[in-house]
């Protein structure tokens, strides 16, 4: 009993309510026809119901806003908004009221109150209102700590506080994968493709407003998520850009090293920072969330000591007709090399020219261009293989097979038929 009396002694009451977006009221249409037993009764009841859409009562989604019905879930990147109301429940005036709202996370404590000034007086039945906003930046337990201090008319200083605990959950699952456009022609430009799988792991649909890749200073990025048709590109995800719970969507980006970086060494070595994904989504009535991934890092493919890439190759060639390709040989090692080129014929590819010729010395990071001639004796898509480079200093041989493909066609087909 004593305890209960003590409880009554606080003159102020603190109330906190999370302000998620309001929801639209849905009604349940039950209709009948004029000839049915209730006649126009059901129709009239539905017309009188303020929550129905007048003229289209069978439409379920109404216009009436209802306040949030429960705390709901809060996800990383969303904004936590809360109404804090301090009400004078007593019959006497209270002075010097200070309301303080702090948010305790696992790593820090933040002050969320709009003002830290004390309110000089609060009359009975009146209240102090505050709406706080905070963009949630951490996962895990959060505790909203609301502290109220005030002075009674008798001059007694009182203080109390309340804790509100909630969990911040992760809204998205992001997985990334790099594809190096290496073994085909585009390796000339050192393009990298990034595939990002984004999964909605919340329980409500999410409208993906923006999923963009912010490249690091070394790269230019092209988004490959729209199909150009006429003036406007249409999204590859269809008309409606929302993601149902547990749905995953793939975003594709093409990254090209800026010329100044690409040419410096001919190759980008080791681990490079590609950039980060910036994701903005919206849910119910525009509730917004935003996240960024950490810097995405890519291990550049190891080219070994000597890298052989193609600078020029025709896509289609005639059967048994010599054609030219240009290879680029780059010394990726730290030492100077003395290279000998061997050309080995395969079942379909026949090299023209002398095998075993000296290419001379190549210093570190230097490269040389090498025009070669060859022909194919078999039709169809043929793989160019059989180049061997030997470093005479170390007596080490590097093999290059499946460097590129060409389509071999027979030019006489049409005449014969």
């Amino acid at each position: 009993m004593e305890v209960n009396q003590a409880k009554q002694e606080h003159l102020l009451a603190l109330k906190v309510m999370r302000l998620t977006k309001p929801t639209l009221f849905t009604n349940m249409p039950v209709t009948c026809e004029d000839r049915d037993l209730p006649g126009d009764l059901f129709g009239r009841l539905m017309k009188e119901d303020p929550s129905t859409i007048k003229g289209a009562e069978a439409l379920m989604l109404g216009e009436m806003l209802t306040l949030p019905q429960n705390f709901g879930n809060i996800f990383l990147g969303e904004t936590f908004s809360s109404y804090i109301s301090v009400h004078n429940d007593s019959t006497q005036e209270v002075k010097d009221i200070l309301v303080k709202a702090d948010l305790q996370t696992s790593s820090q404590r933040l002050n969320l109150s709009a003002s830290n000034n004390a309110v000089t007086e609060l009359k009975p039945e009146s209240c102090i209102d505050d709406v706080i906003h905070h963009e949630v930046k951490e996962i895990g337990t959060h505790i909203l700590v609301c502290a109220v201090s005030y002075t009674t008319q008798a001059g007694e200083k009182l203080y109390f506080r309340k804790f509100f605990k909630f969990q911040v959950l992760k809204p998205l699952d992001v997985k990334t994968k790099f594809y190096n456009a290496e073994s085909d022609l585009s390796s000339v430009t050192d393009e990298v493709f990034l595939e990002a799988q984004i999964q909605n792991i919340t329980t409500s649909p999410m409208f993906m407003e923006k999923v963009s890749l912010e490249p690091s200073m070394m790269y230019n990025v092209t988004e490959l998520n729209t199909v150009e048709t006429g003036d406007e590109g249409t999204s590859t995800f269809g008309k409606m850009s929302y993601l149902q719970p547990m749905d995953t969507r793939q975003y594709l980006y093409c990254l090209k090293p800026k010329s100044e970086f690409a040419e410096k060494a001919g190759v980008i070595k080791g681990v490079t920072v590609i950039g980060k994904l910036d994701i903005v989504w919206k849910t119910n009535l525009g509730e917004k969330g935003r996240l960024q991934t950490s810097q995405l890092q890519r291990m550049a493919p190891g080219y070994g000591d000597v890298r052989l890439s193609l600078e020029m190759i025709p896509d289609t060639v005639n059967l048994e007709e010599p054609f030219d390709i240009t290879c680029k040989i780059t010394n990726c090692s730290e030492r100077t090399m003395d290279l000998v080129l061997e050309m080995c014929n395969t079942r379909s590819i026949h090299w023209c020219g002398v095998s075993g010729r000296q290419l001379g010395k190549v210093s570190p990071s230097a490269s040389l261009s090498l025009p070669l001639k060859l022909l194919s004796s078999v039709q169809g898509l043929q793989s160019i293989s059989g180049l061997r480079l030997t470093d005479t200093f170390l007596k080490r041989t590097y093999e290059y097979d499946d460097i590129a493909q060409v389509c071999v066609v027979c030019p006489y087909m049409s005449r014969e038929s």
Binding site: A6, K7, E9, M17, L19, K21, P22, L24, F25, T26, M28, V30, C32, E33, D36, L41, L45, E48, P50, S51, I53, K54, A56, L59, M60, M64, L67, G72, D89, L98, T105, S106, S107, C127, V131, E135, G140, F160, F163, F164, K165, F166, T176, I201, F207, M240, S241, Y242, M246, V271, L277, L285, G286, K288, R290, L291, Q292, T293, S294, R298
Partner: protein
């Protein structure tokens, strides 16, 4: 349950509290002699902790149940802490009952664990370990201490769930098995194994888990839970197949803390999510584990011992099948028997003699004369296309070959009441409970007894919103027809009136959200295609009349019902077959045939009327399809379907386009919503009338709302009110905006004023819910204010009022 641990933990917490720094800064500003406050046993100092975790709530019963032993100290502490209103659970918001805070938090943990246990049993141990950690935190908060030092513990709890081995394994797999170049972006920094504290044995928790799960099973058995928008529990995050993909750390862009590692979580560590708040009020209400009034009612008519005093006609369900005579004596006299005089005799007759009778009567009929008798309107409204099988039976019926027409019992619809009495008035019960018998005497509503036992009385009950009483009355009238309680499965004949009664009964049950009851009683009707549900089955009673005895609206109801019981796919199936029938009938009409495809010539006038009727029916079915899709959150198809209705109901174009716009707003796609709202503006310009301006303004307000611009949203709603001051939606929405602007008192005043001035418009579930929520936010005396609302409800509303929106329980 944590008796084992608390003694061990306490000293630690005290140590930590000693070491904190933040408190002095606060107290220095406000309460100068802070030490003097604490030691003095004056209990001015209060602390509370409320867990806002998801939709959790605790009933007091559960508390006492799961917390049998507690130290005296704890109890004292707990008593001091009042439970406070928070936005989520109505239970927590009850000012007067003292929910011990420790219990509150622990309950939450238990529930969390329960969930996890349901999803992944094998991870139970990990969960329990985590719980220990959590409890430690709770203990810290639970103390009458001044500060909490939780960082260290928090770190450990941050991987919120499940299997400890998985994440590492995955990463390994990825690294080893993938030949593409995959780069580790982030690896989970914290594994649960490393961080589990050593103290605490899992056993007591396991026991507690059992008790609490028992608690929930009984709760689950509750009743007609409206399952709109219910979502299945989150599927367990599968162990990932090594696909070369790399979990990527995501963080808020402005997050600058250097402790990024601690927040990293691999996908498999994700906690099972708590269900999202549902947009439907009724879901919220039925979610509450409280024994609510609706539950009482349901229990009362399902338990066999219940005998209604107020309804002398109602017999106890034990004496299941009431004799026909008794009932017709009591209520049959006023039952309108518009059908053929043979009907009462036929009602209880077994099927064979009945068909014999038909055979006898049919001999003298002139088919041509009767065909003329059949009114065009009847034909139009009753038209339906039975299934092939049913059609054969009906044709042979028409051939009058009794011996050949043997319809198996299973092929007949043999309905009966599945529950007997639904009497009750939630408003009155609540008044008795809160204000005493005396105050409750003022509550006067019509009951099934106080009206004429006829269709007229039934209509009276419906229009006064006494739907429960109306359901009772339909029960009596159906009992008089021989389809009363326990008659299901027994042969009885149907007529127009009995089916209309069934329709009204089922429609009201649906309106009352008693979906399971409706489903039970609809079950004997099957798919509404039994031969005895067609007029052709009764050539003597309805000579020459053809078509479906089941009203179209009942078919719609039958199709819509499963979606409210969590079976939206079934609803879609039924609705699509209805749609096909409607479409075929329209095609028939357009090809110059009769509705059923026969070659009967229709006059131009009748054809037009029929086309119009069937178009409106088709659009009703399409509305139902779209509504169902919307519930399933299949927005693409829902929008498409709503759009397709415009061609049949061009006068509803504005409403439909606005509705589609709102769907997009709900998804969060504001740009597309704006496009649709622009179309609405164009459409209203075409109409050229000034009356639709409100619609445009309303849409604009919703756009502002979605941009977090509550002040402009408020002024748009206010503009609507300038044009249409009585618009309840704009009034309510303007008040809601005020709350988001931090103007609680104004908002309250506005809503309160509306409810007092125009109760007819504003005693609506949604408005009252908003109002009571604001009362709770405003002051500790919300209960009195809510009771005042209850009184005004008692003066106006019928027994179908949903008292849960007052949050008084």
């Amino acid at each position: 349950m944590d008796n084992n641990e608390t003694p061990a933990q306490r000293p630690v917490t005290l140590d930590i509290t000693g070491a904190v720094e933040v408190k002095p800064s606060l107290s220095a500003a406000v309460i100068p002699p802070e030490p003097s406050l604490l030691p003095s046993s004056d209990v001015h100092f209060q602390e509370e902790s409320i867990d806002l975790g998801g939709e959790s709530f605790i009933t007091p019963e559960e508390d006492s149940h799961s917390m049998p032993s507690e130290s005296l100290m704890d109890k004292l502490n707990d008593q001091m802490m009042e439970s406070v209103m928070i936005s989520d659970s109505p239970n927590n918001s009850e000012e007067d009952d003292v929910v011990p805070m420790d219990n509150l938090l622990e309950q939450f943990e238990e529930r969390e664990e329960e969930q996890a246990a349901a999803v992944v049993k094998e991870t139970l141990v990990a969960e329990e370990k985590k719980e220990v950690v959590e409890e430690k935190v709770d203990d810290l908060i639970g103390q009458d201490t001044t500060e909490i030092k939780i960082e260290a513990v928090m770190m450990q709890t941050s991987p919120v769930a499940s299997s400890p081995e998985e994440p590492l394994e995955n990463v390994k797999q990825k690294l080893t098995t993938d030949d593409q170049d995959v780069i580790t972006v982030s690896i989970s920094a914290v594994t649960p194994e490393d961080s589990t504290p050593s103290s605490g044995s899992p056993k007591p928790e396991a026991a507690a888990l059992e008790t609490s799960s028992k608690g929930t099973t009984s709760k689950d058995e509750s009743i007609p839970v409206c399952t709109i928008f219910s979502q299945g529990s989150q599927p367990k995050v599968q162990a990932l197949v090594p696909d070369g993909f790399q979990p990527t750390l995501i963080k808020s862009p402005s997050f600058s803390s250097g402790t990024g590692g601690s927040t990293e979580i691999t996908p498999s560590q994700l906690a099972p999510l708590v269900c999202q708040p549902s947009p439907s009020l009724s879901k919220f209400f039925s979610d509450s584990g409280h024994v609510n009034p609706a539950t009482d009612f349901f229990d009362s008519f399902t338990t066999s011992s219940f005998i209604s005093i107020s309804n002398p006609n109602a017999e106890s369900p034990k004496s299941a099948a009431p004799t026909e005579r008794q009932l017709s004596a009591s209520s049959g006299s006023s039952l309108p028997l518009q059908q053929a005089p043979v009907e009462p005799a036929l009602a209880t007759a077994p099927p064979q003699p009945f068909t014999q009778l038909q055979a006898v009567f049919s001999g003298g009929d002139d088919p041509f004369a009767t065909a003329l008798n059949m009114s065009e309107a009847d034909k139009r409204y009753d038209a339906w296309l039975p299934s092939e099988e049913t059609r054969k039976v009906l044709i042979s019926m028409a051939m009058q070959q009794y011996s050949q027409v043997f319809v198996e019992r299973e092929r007949l619809a043999m309905p009966g009441l599945k529950f007997d009495n639904l009497q009750g008035d939630a408003v009155k019960d609540l008044m008795v409970r809160l204000m005493g018998e005396q105050a409750a005497m003022k509550r006067q509503v019509l009951t099934a007894n106080s009206v004429e036992q006829s269709f007229l009385g039934l209509k009276q009950l419906i229009s006064t919103k006494n739907w429960r009483a109306a359901v009772d009355l339909t029960g009596r009238l159906l009992t008089a027809h021989g389809q009363g309680y326990g008659k299901a499965g027994q042969p009885s004949s149907h007529n127009t009136d009995s089916l209309q009664l069934w329709f009204v009964r089922l429609a009201l049950l649906t309106k009352l959200s008693l979906f399971q009851n409706a489903e039970m009683e609809l079950e004997p009707f099957g798919n509404l295609d039994q031969p005895d549900l067609y007029y052709e089955y009764y050539p003597t009673v309805y000579p020459g009349r053809r078509g479906s005895m089941v009203p179209f609206s009942m078919r719609v109801l039958h199709a819509e019902l499963p979606q409210y019981l969590g079976k939206p796919q079934e609803s879609l199936d039924r609705l699509h077959s209805m749609r096909t029938v409607c479409q075929t009938i329209l095609d028939n009409l357009e090809q110059g045939l009769a509705e059923d495809g026969s070659m009967i010539n229709l006059t131009q006038e009748n054809r037009q009327a029929s086309l119009q009727l069937w178009k409106s029916r088709l659009s009703r079915v399409l509305y139902a399809v779209a509504n169902c899709l919307l519930m399933m959150k299949d927005y693409v198809l829902a929008v498409e379907t709503y759009h397709s209705i415009i061609q049949y109901e061009p006068q509803q174009k504005v409403q439909l386009l606005s509705g589609i716009g709102r769907i997009f707003l709900q998804i969060g796609d504001i740009k597309t919503a704006e496009k649709y709202f622009l179309d609405v503006e164009k459409a209203t310009l075409e109409k050229g009338s000034g009356t639709t301006d409100t619609c445009v303004l309303m849409n604009r307000a919703f756009i502002y709302l979605s941009q977090n611009n509550y002040s402009d949203a408020h002024s748009s709603f206010a503009e609507v009110l300038k044009i249409d001051p009585k618009n309840p939606v704009a009034n309510n929405n303007a008040a809601v905006c005020l709350l988001y602007l931090g103007r609680l008192k104004e908002s309250l005043r506005q809503l309160e004023g509306l409810v007092q001035q125009d109760p007819a418009l504003y005693l609506h579930e949604s408005v009252l819910f908003n109002l009571t929520t604001m009362y709770e936010l405003e002051s500790s005396r919300s209960t009195q204010k809510k009771q005042a609302l209850l009184e005004s409800v008692a003066c106006r509303e019928g027994d179908s009022f949903n008292t849960q929106c007052l949050k008084l329980v």
